[in-house]
């Protein structure tokens, strides 16, 4: 993306109507980035099972959000889903994995351990207290482990951030990390409705009037 993000904007801005063209190009690029995230399978402990339930399994299907192509190699992925505890011995390996990923790259930290150390925040001599000590995190998903729905909520939050945030005029601009907590009192039905709305508003294909399968 070096050519488009670095060299093209100043060239085009000189022409009449250039800024308007750039803005629409922005939205197209951000739309493409947000709707085809390729997650890296990085599961260290318990949260990995719930992420597997969310990502691979048929009941909660991650493919609806365009993020189902899970890759074990960091060079082919652009979303690091950090599922599980990070201990001091794993710390340099995680940093290496993050460095090997190509730009633009995003990080979702799921579970209490990746946020603050979780159950191991006190009296543990080997746990790293939160992923932010090693790599920049975009979205935190709380839970121990988070439900698949909570993970989806985090993913939708990240997609929203990508659509609004990063532009080709200001590449690599990162916002502050967001805590994607399911709001209290929110029922699963409301969450499903919001997900369907979100899917419909950003999709290129038309949905049928009555969504049959629902969630």
């Amino acid at each position: 993306m070096g050519l488009i993000t670095d060299q093209m904007p100043p060239m085009i801005e000189a022409f009449p109507g250039g800024p308007a063209f750039l803005t629409s190009l922005d939205s197209i690029i951000n739309w493409a980035r947000s709707s085809s995230l390729w997650p890296l399978t990085f599961g260290t402990s318990c949260c990995a099972i719930e992420v597997m339930m969310a990502a691979g399994a048929a009941h909660h299907d991650l493919a609806r959000f365009g993020a189902e192509v899970a890759r074990p190699s960091p060079r082919q992925a652009d979303l690091l889903v950090l599922a599980g505890t990070i201990v001091k011995r794993m710390e340099p390996r995680l940093r290496t994995l993050y460095d090997q990923m190509a730009e633009p790259k995003y990080v979702i930290a799921t579970g209490a351990c990746a946020i603050s150390g979780g159950p191991f925040i006190y009296n543990s001599y080997s746990t790293v207290r939160g992923a932010h000590e090693i790599i920049p995190v975009d979205v935190y998903v709380p839970g121990c482990p988070p439900r698949p729905e909570a993970f989806f909520y985090g993913l939708l939050t990240l997609q929203k951030m990508i659509r609004e945030g990063e532009t080709i005029r200001k590449p690599n601009e990162r916002r502050k990390p967001v805590l994607a907590n399911l709001p209290p009192g929110l029922t699963l039905e409301q969450l499903r409705k919001e997900m369907i709305q979100n899917l419909e508003s950003h999709s290129v294909t038309k949905f049928s009037d009555k969504p049959t399968g629902g969630f």
Binding site: C46, I49, M52, H59, R89, M90, P119, Y122, N123
Partner: protein
């Protein structure tokens, strides 16, 4: 500065004798910690000759969280929830192991309701764990459909647990002296529906996967370990039973209400990956049988015999108790000094001991065989590192 880990590996390279007569060169390959088929952050250093595995050096510690040491400072009651995070696919059975050790130390008599519900829920989780294993086993061998099928049916049991327990994975349901809550009113009916649903599905599993010629070729006579060696390496559970030794704590030292129910212990003959596969598939059938015998007559009674929130102070001494989880023997050892915190707590976890049998299974095979072997012993890495 020389990395001590690398320098020790270099020493191994220099010391390792070249056994092949052809003009080949031995080399080392790192498998893990970031690898899709090591089921977590297990790292294996392989000494290879071409594509043949000569030797394996497991390197542990990438998810060592110090649970044993932490147990000494949080106390008995709070400690139980940490055992969920050991072997997260058998979290209820780990809870049971610790609770049983504390109950044994304090001479707490449980009523029949607690024992029966514990047995039913533990067997449900054994099925759940084997379902996940079956799905991941298929995916490691290159078949994606089992993954979808296994997880689809796992979700049914997860829904039953969620209703009664309130959690999906790390349950923390069994406490010393009973259970956190009584079972949900719909529990019995839901479990019956599940048994009705899952019986034909098990046959579908067999039709889909077991008869496949590729699966048979990749599993038969791969990773053979005989009973004596498996015993000597400390393997338990399906790994040991597949080698022909019918060692199952549910039969030998019955706990819960296993002495009252009829079930068989499936054993293998050869001790290869195929036998381990078959043993687990038959174990699911046996677990269904056990649940069927118990689900209709759960006795009445309280779900907790201790006062809720009471301090746990076992008498001074050393105590050990063990149960059979889906992967083998889970033992809890603790030393009490009459305070409400253990002086020392140690877990004998099945995965740590099962792992070492790989040293005998894999040499001589290919890397692809190693993937099948690792999957067939069903490793859970946080359980090894604790």
């Amino acid at each position: 500065m020389v990395n001590p880990e690398i320098s020790s590996l270099e020493k191994r390279i220099q010391q390792s004798p070249s056994k092949t007569e052809l003009n080949t060169q031995e080399y080392f390959v790192n498998m893990g910690p970031q690898h899709p088929s090591t089921h977590g952050v297990l790292r294996l250093v392989l000494r290879m000759d071409g594509e043949t595995v000569q030797d394996i050096i497991p390197v542990l510690g990438y998810i060592h969280r110090g649970i044993e040491k932490k147990s000494e400072s949080v106390g008995y009651r709070q400690q139980v929830h940490l055992t969920d995070r050991l072997d997260y696919l058998c979290s209820l059975m780990n809870n049971w192991g610790v609770s049983a050790a504390i109950e044994k130390a304090m001479n707490i008599e449980l009523n029949d309701r607690i024992e029966t519900v514990r047995t039913i829920v533990a067997e449900l989780q054994r099925i759940q764990s084997h379902q996940l294993w079956w799905g991941v086993f298929g995916m490691d061998l290159g078949a994606f459909t089992p993954f979808l099928y296994g997880f689809r049916d796992r979700e049914k049991i997860t829904a039953i647990f969620e209703e009664t327990i309130g959690a999906r994975l790390t349950m923390n349901y069994f406490q010393p002296g009973g259970m956190m809550y009584d079972i949900h009113p719909d529990f019995v009916q839901k479990v019956k529906e599940f048994i009705k649903y899952f019986r034909p599905i098990l046959k579908e599993y067999e039709d889909l996967f077991s008869g496949n010629i590729i699966v048979q070729e990749r599993l038969r006579n791969v990773g053979i370990i005989d009973g004596k060696t498996a015993l000597a390496y400390g393997a338990t559970g399906p790994v040991l039973r597949a080698s022909g030794i019918p060692y199952d704590l549910r039969k030998i030292e019955p706990y819960g209400v296993y002495s009252k129910v009829q079930f068989e212990v499936p054993v293998g003959k050869v001790g290869d990956c195929w036998d381990r596969y078959q043993v687990r598939m038959q174990e699911m059938q046996e677990s269904l049988k056990i649940i069927e015998q118990l689900i209709d007559n759960i006795p009445e009674g309280k779900h907790m015999v201790m006062k809720f929130g009471a301090k746990i102070r076992p008498p001074a001494g050393r105590f050990y108790s063990q149960i059979e989880t889906a992967r083998g023997v889970f033992g809890t050892f603790f030393v009490s000094d009459t305070t409400d915190k253990p002086y020392r707590m140690h877990f004998r976890t099945p995965n740590f001991h099962n792992l070492w049998s790989v040293l005998k299974m894999a040499p001589g095979g290919r890397v692809a065989d190693l993937v099948a072997i690792l999957s067939s012993i069903d490793v859970v890495v946080p359980d090894m590192d604790r």
